[in-house]
């Protein structure tokens, strides 16, 4: 991102933010509430048009792209407040994330043989992800009966279904018990090693997140105030004053 600016009325949510995320890294974004972290993710993923500046994915400029185009490019996200499909089951919430399902076409949906094998493969993949996240028992239940932490995990599972290259995760372990939270971050690191995925994570639980990330960016009042390796950033006086001392 280069010099991205976004305002809501008089409020400058992003004030000339310039940051980059290295491919294949696990990068953390921290900052106090209202510092612009989620707005930054919204701008990248097309949910918010910036008032100025540019967003790039590799060499390609994606400023102002629609969320659909951004997703098809290989960028996926989760939401700060879990955004699930309330009347679908946990498994179905993951299945919707499939990018290339032939059965989602109106015409092809009439010819079961064209999509049933793909459906079975997708179900198998989704079931495996649910198993890893400890949600296998909730597979056939509507997400409306899940706890807040389980909803967060379902959203993470949906992101993992997408085979994206860049994952923007907004507080993926909030409401999740510490043991599972550690497992989730361990899995994120393992996916990065195995498949070269890139993770850009907003998170407040530094006791867990800092163990696993390569870089940390810190925002406050719409500006990027620090960026670098975890040890370096958490000892930065500006960061301590703006965030860590609170």
């Amino acid at each position: 991102m280069k010099e991205v600016v976004t305002s809501f009325g008089k409020l400058r949510a992003l004030d000339g933010v310039t940051l980059s995320v290295e491919a294949g890294s696990v990068t953390l974004l921290i900052g106090p509430n209202g510092s612009g972290k989620t707005t930054l993710v919204n701008v990248i993923t097309g949910f918010q048009r910036p008032g100025g500046g540019h967003v790039y994915y590799g060499e390609k400029e994606i400023t102002g792209w629609s969320p659909q185009r951004v997703y098809r490019l290989g960028i996926t996200r989760t939401f700060q407040v879990p955004s699930l499909f309330g009347k679908l089951t946990t498994l179905q919430n993951l299945l919707v994330a499939d990018k290339t399902h032939p059965g989602e076409s109106f015409l092809k949906s009439h010819l079961r043989h064209l999509w049933i094998n793909h459906e079975k493969e997708t179900v198998e993949k989704a079931s495996g992800i649910l198993q890893t996240l400890g949600l296998a028992e909730q597979s056939d239940k509507p997400v409306s009966v899940l706890s807040g932490g389980q909803m967060k995990l379902t959203e993470l599972g949906r992101a993992l279904m997408s085979d994206a290259k860049l994952y923007l995760l907004d507080e993926p372990i909030s409401g999740v018990n510490p043991t599972l939270a550690l497992e989730i971050f361990a899995r994120i690191v393992s996916l990065r090693k195995q498949f070269g995925m890139t993770f850009f994570i907003i998170e407040h639980r530094l006791d867990i997140a800092l163990k696993y990330v390569d870089y940390v960016n810190v925002m406050a009042s719409g500006k990027l105030i620090a960026a670098g390796a975890p040890v370096q950033v958490v000892s930065d006086p500006k960061v301590i004053e703006a965030y860590l001392a609170r």
Binding site: T45, F47, S66, P67, Q68, Y71, R72, T76, R77, F79, S83, L84, F85, G86, K87, L88, T89, L91, Q92, L95, V96, A97, K99, H101, G103, E104, S105, F106, S109, H110, R112, W115, I116, E119, K120, T122, V123, E124, S127, L130, Q131, A136, E137, S139, D140, K141, P142, R158, S162
Partner: protein, 347 residues
């Protein structure tokens, strides 16, 4: 009631149920499954009825090789005296024409759905609802004012494609309508359980999230409106063919708000609920209609309004005490995830 009266009552009820079931299924697909509040259903129903009525006699003359210089709409009665004897003598020709007219009805409904939704499909639900509501009024105005369509305010008759059944016309007509309704129920029920149906529900539940997963919201909403409108058009055509005549009086109450009440009563989002709600509503409506004059001496108001009063009260009761309807939408398990014999369920 005598046995004959019971039979006639039941046949009449089933005919009405069949037509309303098809309309309600179309509405449930749009609102219950996709989250599009269509308050303009009457446009597709009327479109199916009026265009089928307008084209049916013209097509019958052409396909049955009837030689006449009379106008099929202006001189409708005389022209049909040449067409109907041919239809009465051949059930297969009649069935063939029925299928053709239902295709025309469905296509007309789709056209009406496209015309009414295209300008507003990208709008949020409430703005789209208002736009569809406004469009619903247009076709009655056209039907009344443009005589070549269906003969203006007096309306027009249709070829009697059930005439081959003689004295059993209404029984056979009802049976065929019920068959069409059941087939469309099975079709919609299967469609909703496909991955396509899953995306429609996702859009209903959370449009922004569906967008974030790459779904083309506009395309899916348009598909839902078109399919729903096709069903409404077929229902309009069926009712016109059953009645044998059409006038430009397809009003919003009968063909938009009553289906809404039926679907709400039965359970929004559930096709089975929609069918149950439609059956309950139509049955109660017909029963009230049949018996209401017996209550006239005891009521302080004109019994003409009794249907609206009682059914309105029922609707309020359902909305307060059982807003999800008689049958809640059930979450369907994914077909590919159901265990085969001897296999463990995934996860």
């Amino acid at each position: 009631m005598t046995l004959d009266q019971v039979i006639l009552f039941t046949v009449d009820l089933l005919a009405l149920f069949s037509v309303y079931l098809i309309i309600s299924l179309g509405l449930n697909l749009q609102q219950g499954v996709t989250g599009i509040p269509n308050f303009g259903l009457v446009l597709a129903v009327a479109g199916g009825a009026y265009i089928t009525a307008s084209l049916s006699t013209r097509l019958a003359i052409y396909l049955l090789n009837v030689h006449t210089s009379l106008d099929p709409i202006v001189n409708n009665v005389t022209v049909l005296q040449l067409v109907n004897p041919i239809l009465r003598s051949s059930p297969w020709i009649s069935i063939g024409l029925l299928i053709l007219f239902l295709i025309i009805g469905g296509a007309s409904g789709a056209l009406m759905g496209l015309i009414s939704s295209a300008p507003a499909i990208r709008l949020r639900e409430d703005y789209l609802a208002i736009t569809l509501l406004a469009f619903g009024e247009i076709l009655n105005v056209v039907g009344t004012g443009y005589d070549p369509l269906i003969g203006g305010p007096a309306g027009t008759s249709l070829p009697d494609i059930f005439g081959w059944a003689g004295q059993y016309r209404f029984y056979w007509a009802t049976l065929i309508m019920l068959l069409v309704a059941v087939m469309l129920f099975v079709y919609i029920e299967r469609l909703v359980k496909t991955p396509f149906g899953r995306v429609l529900k996702a859009i209903r539940d959370n449009e922004n999230t569906a967008m974030s997963l790459g779904k083309d919201i506009t395309r899916y909403r348009m598909s839902s409106i078109l399919i729903g409108s096709i069903l409404c058009g077929i229902a309009g055509a069926l009712w016109a063919l059953y009645s044998g005549a059409v006038t430009p009086s397809y009003d919003r109450l009968d063909y938009t708000f009553l289906p809404w009440l039926m679907v709400l009563l039965g359970g929004m989002g559930s096709n089975v609920g929609t069918a149950v709600g439609t059956l309950v509503f139509v049955t109660l409506d017909e029963l009230i209609d049949y018996f209401k004059y017996s209550f006239a001496p005891f009521l302080p108001f004109n019994v003409v309004w009794l249907n609206y009063l009682l059914l309105g009260l029922l609707t309020i009761f359902i909305l307060i005490y059982r807003p999800e309807g008689i049958i809640r939408e059930k979450w369907t398990s994914t077909p590919a995830a159901r265990p085969q014999t001897g296999e463990a369920k995934p996860g």
